[in-house]
């Protein structure tokens, strides 16, 4: 029996090849792009196009292109006016008069009014819709409208971070008239904001297409069309920027970013931003003894971790705040000193036969190199005589375990705070009534609770600085590194770098 290719077989194969070839030949247009458009490879999608609905830090730059926040942040994270032009939190922290712009229009042409403010921050929340912003504005009782462009926010308790929250998660202005006419479900399908871009096409988990809002009240974006490809896999994002399918991408592995930075036509950055990598600590079990907690901290070589996992770009931290933010203590350093660790443990009565033991929990894949850092920590601790068991947990389980008091002694955790305000760093992490931190000790907890209602800014910041240092010195918190964002882009694409890792199409241009 022989395998023969006869004339008919050959013709059939040629036909098939011709069809395949004609399909493949159309491939070139997949890479086309002009200077009036940009394609961004982004790692996650919005949970919904209703911006008040869910708090997802990585979705904020996407929302910010379609919607506006009452206040904004400059690239160095200072609060600046946006829809609100003037604001002043009263000394008692119970009210905040403000004024809004009169020249803002929604994408459908409706003018923005004080009614939209009241609707977004008060009426919508009270209507019973399950909105995440309801939790950030739970002390807001009313917005009193004084004139078409002025009003007063009224709070049931002092709310010192009200201005910060007007530029933070979920606080985007939505159109009252439009939502009331189409309903919230339809609004989420066809969102209307006041932002620099309009949403023209959206396919969940795949692509967002935005077109410039030519009636935008602020600085008009230079790029007319922004396409955001949702590429969740870091390898695929790396391939997309390398092949030119996207013009800019973020959060690819550090080594890949360094490699691509050397590629012709591309440039790479490793940018530290307002996200902490830290150890959440318990004040009981194997960590009842402060000496063990401090020994654990002194044993960590943070610079080595930064070099090994983030190309040395992640800044080693001594307090739970990032450089340049109000709560940061630039002159305070917690020493890396393994010998001191050993001494602390010996003085506390721990020996090689009777070592101090505890468990470290860590996620695997929640933030870059998380589990690798955890493994490195275990090795560093072993060197000073600490016996540590490593336990892997899912991020979704973190809050569940914490609420049930079931987290182990230490948990490797990443905490994002685009505002940089110390309330949302030390305050949230150490407040015993909030679910973010594992520390429930009353000495620090009571101080934090007082700072939550401290309306005087300077006093509040000074208080947080002091409590952050105290937390570190008593082993209530072990800050490790400032997190980094890797960014790779075409050399000719310019963008504005923000201290909180926002990447906004509205700031981009081609040179």
């Amino acid at each position: 029996m022989t395998f023969e290719i006869d004339r008919r077989n050959l013709l059939q194969m040629l036909g098939l090849a011709a069809v395949s070839g004609s399909v493949l030949s159309q491939a070139s247009f997949a890479f086309a792009q002009g200077t009036d458009s940009v394609t961004i490879g982004w790692p996650s999608d919005v949970p919904s196009w209703d911006p008040n609905l869910r708090f997802v830090p990585d979705a904020q730059p996407l929302f910010k292109m379609v919607f506006d926040q009452p206040l904004d942040q400059s690239p160095d994270l200072k609060l600046i006016g946006n829809l609100i032009t003037k604001w002043e939190l009263k000394p008692d922290g119970l009210s905040m008069p403000f004024e809004i712009r009169s020249d803002v229009k929604f994408h459908n042409g409706d003018p923005m009014t004080m009614e939209d403010f009241k609707y977004t921050f008060v009426d919508r929340i009270k209507s019973g819709l399950k909105l995440d912003i309801a939790n950030s504005w739970r002390t807001l009782t009313d917005i009193e409208i004084l004139s078409p462009t002025s009003g007063v926010m009224k709070f049931s308790a002092p709310t010192p971070t009200a201005p910060q929250w007007l530029a933070f998660l979920g606080s985007y202005l939505v159109p009252k008239k439009y939502i009331e006419s189409v309903g919230p479900e339809e609004f989420a399908k066809k969102p209307v904001g006041t932002g620099p871009y309009k949403l023209v096409d959206y396919q969940m988990n795949s692509r967002i297409v935005l077109e410039r809002n030519d009636a935008y009240f602020g600085t008009k974006p230079k790029i007319k069309r922004v396409t955001i490809d949702i590429i969740k896999d870091p390898s695929a994002r790396t391939a997309a920027i390398q092949s030119g399918q996207v013009d800019l991408t973020v959060n690819i592995p550090v080594r890949e970013a360094e490699r691509l930075g050397k590629t012709e036509g591309l440039t790479a950055e490793i940018n530290p931003f307002t996200r902490l990598i830290l150890l959440q600590m318990r004040n009981d079990k194997g960590f009842t003894d402060m000496a063990v907690r401090l020994a654990a901290h002194h044993a960590i070589d943070k610079a080595a971790l930064s070099k090994a996992f983030y190309g040395g770009a992640a800044v080693p931290l001594s307090v739970p705040a990032t450089p340049g933010t109000p709560g940061y203590l630039p002159d305070y350093k917690f020493a890396y000193d393994p010998e001191l660790s050993k001494k602390l443990l010996a003085d506390a009565g721990y020996t090689a036969d009777k070592p101090a033991t505890f468990t470290l929990a860590a996620t695997n894949g929640q933030f870059p190199s998380d589990f690798d850092i955890a493994r490195a920590l275990v090795q560093m601790w072993q060197k000073v005589g600490l016996k540590v068991e490593l336990q892997q947990i899912e991020y979704s389980k973190y809050f569940e375990l914490n609420r049930g008091g079931q987290l182990p002694e230490a948990t490797l955790y990443s905490f994002d705070n685009a505002t940089g305000d110390p309330e949302i760093f030390s305050g949230y992490l150490m407040n015993p009534k909030m679910p973010f931190g594992a520390w429930k000790g009353p000495e620090i907890g009571d101080k934090i609770l007082k700072l939550f209602v401290e309306p005087v800014y300077e006093k509040r910041i000074a208080g947080y600085k002091a409590v952050a240092q105290e937390a570190v010195e008593t082993g209530a918190n072990i800050p490790i590194l400032q997190s980094v964002q890797t960014l790779v882009r075409k050399k000719s694409l310019n963008y504005v770098k923000y201290g909180n890792a926002w990447v906004l199409g509205s700031t981009m241009s081609w040179s």
Partner: protein, 340 residues
């Protein structure tokens, strides 16, 4: 006529069997997900929610009720077409699944076609070269193909055709600038219905790499089963008789050997299609393909139990439908089964 009656009988029987299977799967899914140490009430609120707010949400969601009561409520809603509301997306699960399912079906069907073409062609070739040196080489190749999982194929193909040669796109279902027709949700079908040939071709391009990755990973087992079945079939007398009747080897293979040997391969294809339907998760993530696998990954990451339950049930229904289709094909292709 008899064939249709037999198939109809089988359909009725299988649909009746499917009902208790679905009920059992739904109960298992419900119980397993409730036993998991995640709190849907806490997950549905922002992290700064208070313990009191979480407790209130738990009551509102009925999570404080006994498990059998929770299941009863859920089942009752299910019968009324309400699978629940997503915790993360705050949308109806039915509409989320409805909007992503067509993309996954399209991907799975074309991938299965690729697997079938490669599997049958490879199986026939393996059979042709039996007893020669080429058989050992082909054996080695098929084992190699079999040992690489689909996500490795995905990355490999992406690097070769997407990055190195830059001939194929590998993100999403369409390139920017292409109009996306919305009729049935099946993009290829919709672009044909609306006569939008550029969109059709572009969508087809986007499907090449993910379908190849899935199809290549499935094809070696088809090749090997077909080769074995053909070897078995060629031991039967009717092949020898066909040769004595002077039929060509090609005709014997296609008309007699393959027709009898295809049945085990068809069974395997049915099983594989079921696995394929539920196994597109990683490929969808790598290729940014907006299907149900991608949705499922989001749901798992956010402990979105209503979506996981809904998707689990959808997979179960799909597997049952596939098995009914395969059994019907069996009846059509094998007259002996109709007599029984």
């Amino acid at each position: 006529m008899r064939m249709f009656a037999t198939i109809a009988k089988l359909l009725v029987k299988r649909v009746l069997t499917a009902i208790p299977i679905l009920l059992l799967v739904s109960a298992l899914l419900f119980c397993i997900l409730r036993i998991l140490p995640v709190d849907p009430a806490a997950m549905s609120l922002p992290p700064n929610a208070t313990v009191q707010e979480i407790e209130a949400m738990r009551t509102e969601m009925g999570l404080n009720l006994p498990l059998y009561q929770q299941y009863g409520i859920w089942l009752n809603k299910l019968f009324h077409g309400d699978i629940g509301r997503s915790i993360h997306f705050r949308q109806n699960v039915t509409s989320l699944i409805g909007s992503t399912l067509p993309a996954t079906i399209e991907l799975a069907v074309i991938a299965m076609m690729v697997a079938t073409v490669f599997g049958l062609a490879g199986g026939l070739f393996l059979f042709y070269v039996r007893g020669t040196r080429a058989e050992a080489v082909m054996d080695f190749v098929s084992i190699l193909l079999l040992s690489l999982p689909e996500f490795l194929w995905s990355l490999f193909l992406l690097l070769i055709f997407g990055v190195f040669f830059e001939v194929l796109p590998f993100t999403g279902r369409l390139s920017p600038g292409f109009e996306r027709p919305l009729v049935t949700g099946f993009l290829l079908l919709d672009s044909l219905i609306t006569g939008n040939i550029p969109t059709f071709l572009n969508a087809l391009q986007h499907m090449i790499l993910p379908c190849l990755a899935l199809g290549i990973a499935l094809s070696p087992s088809l090749m090997r089963v077909l080769r074995s079945s053909l070897l078995d079939a060629y031991q039967d007398d009717y092949i020898q008789q066909a040769r004595l009747r002077g039929l060509s080897e090609k005709r014997i293979l296609i008309r007699h050997g393959l027709k009898n040997a295809i049945l085990p391969t068809l069974s395997l294809m049915g099983v594989q299609f079921g696995f394929l339907f539920g196994g597109t998760l990683l490929v969808e993530i790598i290729y940014s393909y907006p299907g149900m696998g991608n949705l499922m990954v989001d749901a798992i990451r956010n402990a979105d139990l209503p979506i996981i339950q809904g998707a689990g049930l959808t997979y179960c229904v799909a597997v049952l439908v596939i098995s009914i289709v395969v059994d019907s094909l069996y009846l059509i292709l094998n007259p002996k089964l109709r007599v029984r």
